[in-house]
Symmetry: C2
Subunit: 327 residues, 2 copies
């Protein structure tokens, strides 16, 4: 319906590659350029013939790129890149440092409003689709409890933590929701669940030669914040086994609202089972890259979240088609 939306990607890691692939499924969007802080000559795009540019040439694309999809990390990349890029482009990102969302929102809101552009922050599945379900189900069933379970999936932060333990060569950590807890929630029992009762942690660890396995196991299990509050399983594997059996980045989870009206209980469950966390997150970003451009076209400038976006803006179908085909 609209003309083609011209898209840029900032950052070409797993997420950026996922965005590149997801754009292939969206006929109304075109990848113009990928921006990197590495040497652009050393990067070969996997799925497109877009230009690879150094990040410090991004300003040359003002007026050329309609929406910039930010694929950097929330720790250090986005807090600096988000407010900078929002001065020049419509942006969409997956900022997920929960405690800093108000501050990040405010920085992008200021930059985008001044530039008369639009930015959607914290898009993905959590924050993102899970947030949307938490919000909508609480509005619909105000009396009740909401439960979020994550997994089974790879936690990058916990995998990194394992790899910092002395004697560990490599490791992957899976967060696994506890089935009994989910079943109790599904039965409408509204249980009070401790951290340990909701998830357990499974670590596949490659030890360095001669390392004390028992010492590694104890150090992981006792690690505060990361593992001490959970039942944690440590499984030693060879480097080959890790490479062969644990080379994917699956994830997923469940948002369950257990609510009540008068004398009746209702369960609303939203669940994701993702073979690739970055590829799925990228697909969500791409749909919201379309939406941010629509908001911008309507003059809705400033920072937005998934809560502010009319769902129809995610689709390239006309309103008539949406009503006829999907309502």
């Amino acid at each position: 319906m609209d003309s083609v939306i011209k898209v840029g990607i900032v950052g070409y890691g797993n997420l950026g590659k996922g965005v590149e692939a997801a754009l292939l499924n969206q006929p109304d969007m075109e990848l113009v350029a990928v921006f990197t802080r590495r040497d652009p000559n050393l990067i070969n795009l996997e799925n497109s013939s877009a230009i690879v540019e150094h990040y410090n040439r991004v300003e040359k694309y003002i007026g050329i790129i309609d929406t910039m999809i930010l694929c950097g990390g929330s720790m250090t990349d986005l807090p600096e890149q988000g407010p900078y890029l929002a001065q020049m482009f419509n942006t969409v990102d997956s900022f997920d440092t929960h405690a800093r969302i108000p501050e990040y929102f405010s920085a992008l809101d200021k930059a985008a409003k001044k530039a008369r552009k639009t930015s959607i922050i914290s898009v993905g599945w959590d924050p993102g689709l899970f947030s949307l379900n938490r919000m909508m189900t609480e509005a619909i069933l105000p009396e009740g409890e909401t439960y979020t379970f994550w997994g089974k999936g790879v936690s990058q932060g916990h995998s990194d933590a394992i790899r910092r333990v002395k004697g560990v060569k490599a490791g992957v950590q899976y967060t696994i929701p506890i089935e009994d807890a989910i079943e109790s929630v599904r039965r409408g029992e509204n249980p009070k669940l401790s951290t340990r009762e909701k998830h357990y942690r499974q670590c596949f660890v490659v030890a360095q030669e001669g390392a004390d396995l028992n010492e590694i196991e104890q150090e992981i299990k006792k690690m505060p914040n990361y593992f001490a509050d959970y039942d944690t399983e440590v499984i030693f594997v060879t480097e080959d086994e890790l490479r062969t059996n644990h080379n994917k980045i699956p994830h997923g989870g469940f948002v369950i609202r257990s609510g009540r009206t008068k004398q009746n209980n209702h369960i609303i469950e939203y669940s994701l089972k993702l073979e690739s966390n970055p590829e799925f997150t990228a697909s969500v970003l791409v749909a919201y890259a379309r939406a941010v451009y629509r908001l911008y076209q309507q003059g809705q400038y400033g920072a937005k979240t998934i809560f502010d976006v009319p769902p129809a803006y995610l689709s390239n179908l006309s309103d008539e088609d949406l009503r006829a085909r999907l309502l």
Copy 2:
């Protein structure tokens, strides 16, 4: 945050009673009046001290009621009441005759635009929340298949059909999704499923004294449109059993998107398990009654669907609170 939203209910059947109950959980909304085509003196409200008025006095409430929640049936009530009331009030309804949605939308759009009011049509869970999930997941994962399963739940239309069979005194029909089909979809097998492979139908029937049970069973099972394309089970029960064990109106179902990105599969599943179909539908209507008033306040006149509504409008929390608490 806003002042109290003044609400009216048109129609006081199961859905209207559900709306009345749901409003008790929404501190920013107040029930002003219930409109009925029966004698208002014969109606005692179950959960409020609102006024009961005859439907033909509705025009007296122009300027008093902010949002009218239409709780009539889609067959004959809404096609007449919707366009009439949209000339005077913001409205929200659960119109669910799929084939007539374009025509109904158009009638309300015309009436509401002329009156500078806003109407949201076809809100509930299907059409409604299920539509929203079909639409959003298709936009996010364009490559894939969407499956909708309904039940286990009571189908009013099929229960009515049973009761029209000669020799039947009373009956309740449950639509039951076939577990094997759901499991195949969840495994990402993208099966092609016939009508018979997706759902089966279970009928609890009270026969009139002296009726031929075998004849009743055959007539139900062979009924075109309703039962012939399904595996159907007919179970004869006493009137007491029907009253005791089948007096609730549960429903629910599943929307599953099985999609693909590059080399990876993803499953998005949305499911509802509702002890009372009308009470839950009413809760959705009430949240969208808040949203329609927000759209109206912004000057977004005309007919809308669930696809057009920014999710934040469903909640009585401020944008800041939503971001801090639920994102």
